[in-house]
Point group: C2
Chain length 228, copies 2
DNA sequence: CAGCGTAATTTTGAATTCATAATTAAGTCA
DNA sequence: TGACTTAATTATGAATTCAAAATTACGCTG
């Protein structure tokens, strides 16, 4: 054991590194929702022992990405409709707050950054590049979040966002919904430029609820086929 | 070792049990903010090995109650003014949402429960029993939260609430602030009875901001003396 | 005696080990 | 064959061990 070659990780603390490495695996569904987490396999893959891996799993469980069953191991949580109906309203409230605060603190330079991201997102929309669209979309929401200058808000938002991300990613938007989402983003940008906090908050709230509805719709269409 | 006598805990998973046991120690400042967490000592106290204790510390760290310093151990986080100014607005947004949702879902029986708790809180106020007041106060907020029927909201709220709790607990309210807080609670009850969601949301938001201001004021008064 | 450098000690992080619970496989009998 | 037991295997949870880092204690020098 103890192979310190190539891929093996060693940075700060192993468990923290593992949290950062496992999250993407769960989000992009390399570790499939509802499946058991192959502890041994992941230990070998990352070249670590079970101790730090298990520490990481405890943290991921407290973030809701993993479910621990006593004496039966860890499982990737499923994204259920109930969860979506729960999480999006909370996320909505937090994003609304972030919009409110962002309008108070955002600099002109940061607004320009968002404007550039927005333009890039429009291009992704026009070329129907869903991957790129999602990625830039995330960046816009994150930029607003950062402009709010509230680390706690950022952390809370991102934790919940992560949980929804794989559902959002998997959920192919309908053409109509995609169009609407882009329109909503136009308004978001306008509010930000005008530094109209209450209006931005309301817009983000609506945006989140529309996303929720879209994801739920997709989940229901999948229900007949297979659980994600 | 392995003494399975008396005090030793054995329920579900040790790490989960330890999280539940350590939280109160941190909140009531038995483990003092800014101090190092005595890993060995706690292991002996709970009759467990370091492995599950360290797992628990990782979880507490992700909740912001503990700070991990690589190779230097775990420390109880301090409640700083910056943190208070960050956390209370987030908590406000979440409590506002909980009020909104509670008005939609709360049953008559649950309203009566809150009414009873409220009466009890008034009695604690009148007899200037701060401990009892805080305890019932918590229960009221929790009752509203539960009435919102949103487990994610409950979890998020409680996590942040915990972080502020020890500050709130330590912060002796001024006589004037205490009076105002009771008045705000009167209004909260009224809104709930009337099932006036928007009004309850606004009231809770204000309530949280007033709490924030009160805690900050107290923190500043302590600044000259000693950091908590 | 103050400041510095080194050795001893303690603490930490992570691997390993070990007991126990859960799962799988094998065998029994109707 | 198929349900039911029981034995073998595997996985989990937690204690223990071990190497490395940090802290403390000690002694030396000026």
């Amino acid at each position: 054991m103890t192979l310190h070659t190539s891929q093996t990780i060693l940075r700060k603390s192993l468990h923290h590194e593992l949290v950062d490495r496992l999250q993407p695996l769960i989000i992009n569904s390399e570790l499939k929702p509802g499946t058991k987490i192959p502890e041994k396999q992941l230990c070998e893959r990352f070249g670590v022992s079970r101790t730090p891996l298990r520490e990481a799993l405890k943290v991921l469980a407290s973030d809701g990405l993993v479910r621990l069953e006593p004496n039966r191991g860890a499982w990737v949580t499923q994204v259920t409709q109930e969860e979506v109906d729960e999480v999006f309203p909370v996320l909505g409230a937090l994003e609304a707050l972030s919009g409110e605060l962002a309008c108070k603190h955002i600099t002109d330079a940061e607004i320009e950054e968002v404007r550039a991201l927005h333009a890039q997102m429009i291009r992704s929309y026009e070329s129907r590049d869903l991957d790129a669209y999602f990625s830039v979309n995330q960046k816009i929401h994150r930029a607003i979040l950062l402009a709010a200058r509230n680390a706690t808000l950022t952390t809370s938002c991102q934790a919940l966002s992560l949980r929804m991300q794989r559902a959002r990613y998997l959920a192919n938007m309908s053409e109509g919904r995609w169009y609407d989402a882009v329109q909503e983003h136009e308004k978001i940008l306008q509010c930000l430029v005008a530094r109209d906090g209450p209006n931005l908050a309301a817009t983000l709230l609506h945006h989140m609820d529309a996303k929720r509805a879209s994801v739920v719709k997709w989940l229901q269409s999948q229900e007949t086929t297979d659980a994600i």
